[in-house]
C-alpha cells in the first residue's frame, strides 16, 4: 500500500493501543468541589461573623443584656459613668449594642436548633411515609396537613400557654410546626427516589428497609432538602419574633432579635434606631444564609437559560 495509508495505519495503531486500555472518556468531569460566587463568599463571612458573635458575644458585650444603665430610654449613642452606648439605648434604657450581641446567641441558637429539629422530624416521617406508604402514609400526611392548615402562630400560642415558654419548648414547637413543610418535600423526594433502579437493585439484593433508606435514599435526598434550609431558617426566626408580638417568645430579659424589634417599635417615632438594629441583624443573617444556599444549589438551568437569545 502507498505511503499516506501506511502513516494512517501507524497513526491508527496507537489509537488501538489506547483503546485496548479501555480509554473511554468519562461522561462527566470529575466530581466538582463546592465553588462559591463572590456573593457566596461575602455571605459566608457574614454568617461566620454572627456565629462567632453568638459564641463569644456575652464576653465581649460592654453591658449585660439586663443592665438598665442608659441615661434614658430611646436615646441615641451616648456615654455615661457606666460606659458608652454605641447604638443608643432601648425602651428600658438598656444598651442596644450589647443586646444585639447577646441576641445573636439566642436568635441563632434557637433558629438553628429548631430548623435542625424540623429537618430531623420532617425527613424521618417524610421518608417513612414515602417508603411505607399505605395507612402510615395516610395517617402521617393527614396530621401533617392539619398542622399546615392551622395558623402556626395559633399553634405556638397554645403550646406556650400550655407548657410555658422556655427555650427548649420554643425550639420544639417551632421544630414541629416547620417539620410539616419539610415533610412535604422529603416525602415527594422519597417517592421518586424509591422507584430508582439503584433502589430496586438493593431490593433485589434483599437489603432491609432501613439500609435502603440510610444508604440509598438519604444521600440522594440530601442536596434538594438543603436548598430549602435557608427559607425554613428565616421562617423560624420570624415565627419566634411573631410570638413575641403576642407577648410570648423568649423570656425577658433575654434578648432575641425578633423580640427586640417588637419591644422598641415605639422608638421609631423618636427616630430611635433601637428597633432597626436588630431588624438589620436578622436580615443580614438570614439573607447571608440564603445566599450561601442559593450558591450551593446553583441551578444549572441558569446556565442553559443564559444561552437564550
Amino acid at each position: 500500500m502507498n505511503e499516506p495509508e501506511k502513516q494512517n495505519v501507524e497513526a491508527g495503531q496507537e489509537v488501538l493501543d489506547k483503546l485496548d486500555k479501555f480509554d473511554e472518556l468519562p461522561d462527566a468531569p470529575p466530581k466538582r468541589k463546592l465553588k462559591l460566587s463572590w456573593t457566596g463568599k461575602i455571605a459566608t463571612m457574614i454568617v461566620v461573623f454572627w456565629m462567632v458573635i453568638a459564641i463569644i458575644g456575652p464576653f465581649i458585650a460592654p453591658f449585660h443584656e439586663m443592665d438598665m444603665d442608659g441615661d434614658d430610654s430611646f436615646l441615641n449613642a451616648h456615654s455615661n459613668e457606666y460606659g458608652t452606648f454605641y447604638l443608643g439605648t432601648d425602651y428600658l434604657g438598656r444598651d442596644t449594642f450589647s443586646r444585639v450581641i447577646w441576641g445573636a446567641r439566642m436568635t441563632i441558637g434557637i433558629s438553628l436548633a429548631a430548623t435542625f429539629l424540623a429537618y430531623v422530624i420532617g425527613i424521618t416521617l417524610g421518608i417513612a411515609a414515602a417508603v411505607k406508604g399505605g395507612w402510615v402514609d395516610m395517617a402521617v400526611s393527614r396530621v401533617n396537613d392539619a398542622i399546615l392548615a392551622l395558623p402556626s402562630i395559633m399553634l405556638g400560642l397554645i403550646a406556650i400557654a400550655a407548657f410555658g415558654s422556655s427555650i427548649p419548648i420554643l425550639v420544639i414547637i417551632a421544630g414541629i410546626i416547620y417539620a410539616s413543610s419539610v415533610f412535604r418535600i422529603a416525602r415527594a423526594l422519597g417517592l421518586d427516589i424509591m422507584v430508582q433502579d439503584f433502589v430496586e437493585a438493593a431490593k433485589v439484593r434483599g437489603e432491609g428497609l432501613w439500609w435502603i433508606i440510610k444508604s440509598e435514599v438519604l444521600p440522594n435526598a440530601a442536596m434538594p432538602l438543603a436548598t430549602d434550609f435557608g427559607l425554613r431558617l428565616v421562617f423560624v426566626v420570624l415565627f419566634i419574633s411573631s410570638l413575641s408580638f403576642l407577648g410570648l417568645g423568649v423570656q425577658p430579659p433575654q434578648a432575641d432579635w425578633g423580640s427586640m424589634v417588637r419591644e422598641n417599635l415605639a422608638g421609631l417615632t423618636y427616630n430611635s434606631w433601637a428597633a432597626v438594629w436588630p431588624a438589620f441583624a436578622i436580615a443580614s443573617f438570614t439573607i447571608a444564609i440564603n445566599l450561601i444556599v442559593d450558591d450551593i444549589s446553583a441551578k444549572s438551568g441558569g446556565s442553559l437559560a443564559k444561552k437564550m437569545v
Binding site: 439586663m66 423570656q251 425577658p252 430579659p253 415605639a266
Partner: protein, 543 residues
C-alpha cells in the same frame, strides 16, 4: 352623707373654683380661644404647677365651663382589649370596653365625682339608717328605657338581685356580699338591707357592673343611658347614637363608636393619625410621642393603681419574712416612677393606699427606700439565693418593674428569674397560685374597700394569703367610725400592718394614662378607671 374630701388634704389637687378670677378667665379664654391644650399646659407649668395638677385643673375648668358645651359631632374610642367575650350584660362586665358600653347604654343608681364623692344617678337620694345597715333609695321619676317602657323599682330589684344568690355569675358578687336583700317600697322607692353596717354602700352602687337593666332582660342593650345602641359586634365595634329623650340634659355627641386596637403602638398611632379620638392604656414608651404631637393630649390621672408583686405567705419562700423584706428593699421606687413610668406615677410604700385616697392615706408611715445592702442582708438571712417570679403584662409597666428588680437583684448576687406567662388564663392559673406573681388592682373608691378586698382575713382575693385578725377587726370597725382623726388612726394602723407584715411588694402606683384628641372638652377625671372611669360619653363635647 358626708363629704370625704376636705380641701386641705387635696392640697396638690387644685380645683378650678379655687382659682383667682383672672386665672379663671385665662383658662376660659384659652379653652374657648382654641389654644392647643399643650399651650395651656406649658403656660401653667411655667407658673410652677405640676403637670398632673395643671391637667386636672384644666379638666375641672372645662367641667365648670360645661355651661356652654357644643352639641353634635361624633367620636371613636379605641380600647386596649376586646374579643368575642364582649358583653352588654352588666354583671359580666370585665374589660374597659364593656364598662364604656355599659356607661353609654345604662345608668347606675349612683355616680362618682372626680373627687371620688358620689351623687345620685337613677337614685335621687340615698339615706342610711342610724348604723348604716339599711338604706332607702328614692328613685328618679319620668325615666324611660330606650324602648319607651318606664323605669321603676322592679327594674332596680331585678338588676341588683342578679348579683346575689348561689347561681349568680356576677363578677362583683362577693364585693356586694354585704347586701342581704332588696325590698320594694313602692314603684319608685326601694330599701337595701345589709347584713353588716356599711357607710360606703353608695360607692358599691356605682360599680361598673351595677348598672340598671330592664326588668327581665339580660343585657340586650336596652337601658336608660345617654346613648341608644345602634349596632354591636363582639370583638369588632359598637355604634351608639344620642338618646334624644334622656332623663337629664343628655349627651352632646350625636354618635359614638366604641372599638379596640389591641396593639399599643398601633393604638397610639391611630390616635395621632386622627382615626380615633380616645384611647386608654397608653404605654410609658409612647408618652413622649403623644406629648410631642399637636392634635392630641396625654390625659394622666393620678390614681392608686398598684403595680404589685404578690409573695404568697402560705408557701415557700414567702413564709420567710426576710425574703419579702429583701424583695421590698431591692425595689428602686424612684427609678420605677422616673424611668419606667416616665414620671406618670407615684412612689408606693408596699401598701395599696395612695395619696389619691385622700385623707385615708397614711403619710406618717416612713417611706421604704431602695437599699441594696439591706436587701442583700435580708436575702442572705432568708437563706434563699434565687427565686422564680411569674410575670404577665397585666398592667403597663409591671413587666418592666420586674425586669428592673431582676437587674438590681443580679447586682447583689441574688438570682431572680422571671417566668413570663400569657395574660389569658393568668388569673385562674397563676395569680394566687404561684408562690411569687404579679398583680394589679383598679383603684377602689375608698381606702377601706381597697384594703378589705385584698387584705381582709379570709377575703376572697387575699392574694398573698396574709390573714391578720387585727386587720379584720379594724376593717370592720372603721366602717362605723365617724371621727376623722380616729378613723385616720385606724387607717394608718392598717397600712402599717400591711407595710410590715403582708407579702405584698408595691413599688409604685401608676397613673391612669389615656390619650385624647385635643378638641375634646369636658373630660371627666374620676380616678377609678380609664378615661375618667368611662364617665365621658355623657359629658364631653367637641370644640
Amino acid at each position: 352623707m358626708k363629704d370625704k374630701v376636705s380641701p386641705e388634704c387635696k392640697s396638690d389637687e387644685l380645683n378650678f373654683f379655687d382659682l383667682s378670677p383672672s386665672d379663671k378667665c385665662l383658662v376660659e379664654k384659652t379653652i374657648q380661644g382654641g389654644f392647643s391644650r399643650r399651650d395651656v399646659l406649658k403656660l401653667m407649668m411655667v407658673t410652677g404647677v405640676s403637670l398632673v395638677t395643671a391637667q386636672n385643673l384644666l379638666f375641672t375648668g372645662q367641667q365648670a365651663l360645661a355651661a356652654m358645651p357644643k352639641k353634635g359631632g361624633s367620636v371613636r374610642m379605641a380600647a386596649n382589649l376586646h374579643g368575642p367575650d364582649d358583653q352588654l350584660d352588666p354583671p359580666r362586665f370585665t374589660s374597659t370596653i364593656d364598662y364604656v358600653r355599659g356607661r353609654a347604654v345604662y345608668n347606675s343608681l349612683v355616680q362618682h365625682n372626680n373627687d371620688l364623692t358620689t351623687r345620685g344617678e337613677l337614685a335621687e337620694t340615698i339615706e342610711p339608717n342610724a348604723d348604716a345597715s339599711e338604706w332607702t333609695l328614692k328613685l328618679r321619676k319620668g325615666v324611660v328605657f330606650h324602648d319607651g317602657t318606664p323605669f321603676t323599682a322592679d327594674d332596680v330589684i331585678y338588676s341588683m338581685n342578679r348579683h346575689m344568690g348561689d347561681d349568680s355569675t356576677s363578677v362583683v358578687k362577693s364585693v356586694l356580699a354585704s347586701i342581704q336583700e332588696w325590698k320594694k317600697v313602692n314603684s319608685h322607692e326601694v330599701k337595701c338591707v345589709l347584713n353588716t353596717s356599711n357607710s360606703d354602700l353608695p360607692t358599691l352602687l356605682g360599680l361598673y357592673q351595677t348598672k340598671i337593666v330592664k326588668n327581665g332582660t339580660t343585657g340586650d342593650g336596652i337601658g336608660t343611658g345617654p346613648f341608644v345602641l345602634d349596632s354591636f359586634e363582639p370583638g369588632v365595634k359598637s355604634v351608639h347614637s344620642r338618646n334624644e329623650n334622656y332623663w337629664r340634659e343628655g349627651a352632646n355627641l350625636d354618635l359614638i363608636e366604641i372599638t379596640a386596637i389591641t396593639d399599643p403602638v398601633a393604638r397610639v398611632n391611630a390616635l395621632i393619625a386622627g382615626d380615633v379620638q380616645l384611647i386608654n392604656q397608653v404605654a410609658p414608651s409612647a408618652f413622649r410621642q403623644i406629648e410631642e404631637a399637636d392634635n392630641v393630649t396625654l390625659l394622666s390621672t393620678p390614681a392608686a393603681v398598684q403595680l404589685g408583686i404578690c409573695v404568697l405567705k402560705n408557701a415557700e419562700p414567702g413564709m420567710n419574712d426576710d425574703f419579702v423584706k429583701g424583695l421590698q428593699y431591692i425595689q428602686d421606687r424612684e427609678r420605677v416612677v422616673k424611668r419606667i413610668l416616665k414620671g406618670k406615677g407615684t412612689v408606693a410604700n408596699d401598701t395599696p393606699i395612695s395619696i389619691a385616697h385622700g385623707p385615708d392615706f397614711c403619710s406618717e408611715l416612713p417611706q421604704r427606700e431602695f437599699d441594696p445592702d439591706k436587701a442583700k442582708f435580708h436575702f442572705e438571712k432568708s437563706g434563699y439565693s434565687s427565686a422564680e417570679l411569674y410575670v404577665a403584662p397585666v398592667a403597663s409597666g409591671i413587666e418592666e418593674v420586674c425586669l428592673l428588680a431582676q437587674a438590681n437583684c443580679a447586682k447583689i448576687g441574688f438570682d431572680l428569674q422571671l417566668k413570663k406567662v400569657p395574660t389569658d388564663g393568668y388569673w385562674g392559673a397563676v395569680w394566687m397560685r404561684e408562690p411569687i406573681n404579679v398583680v394589679t388592682w383598679n383603684m377602689r373608691p375608698t381606702a377601706q374597700s381597697q384594703m378589705a378586698i385584698q387584705f381582709g382575713p379570709g377575703a376572697e382575693w387575699n392574694d398573698t394569703y396574709w390573714n391578720n385578725e387585727r386587720m379584720g377587726v379594724l376593717l370592720q370597725a372603721v366602717l362605723s367610725e365617724i371621727d376623722p382623726a380616729k378613723r385616720h388612726e385606724m387607717m394608718c394602723e392598717m397600712q402599717t400592718l400591711i407595710h410590715n407584715g403582708s407579702g405584698m411588694v408595691i413599688p409604685a402606683f401608676t397613673n391612669i394614662n389615656d390619650g385624647i384628641a385635643a378638641n375634646i372638652m369636658g373630660m371627666p377625671t374620676v380616678p377609678l378607671g380609664a378615661l375618667g372611669a368611662l364617665e365621658w360619653p355623657e359629658f364631653i363635647w367637641l370644640s
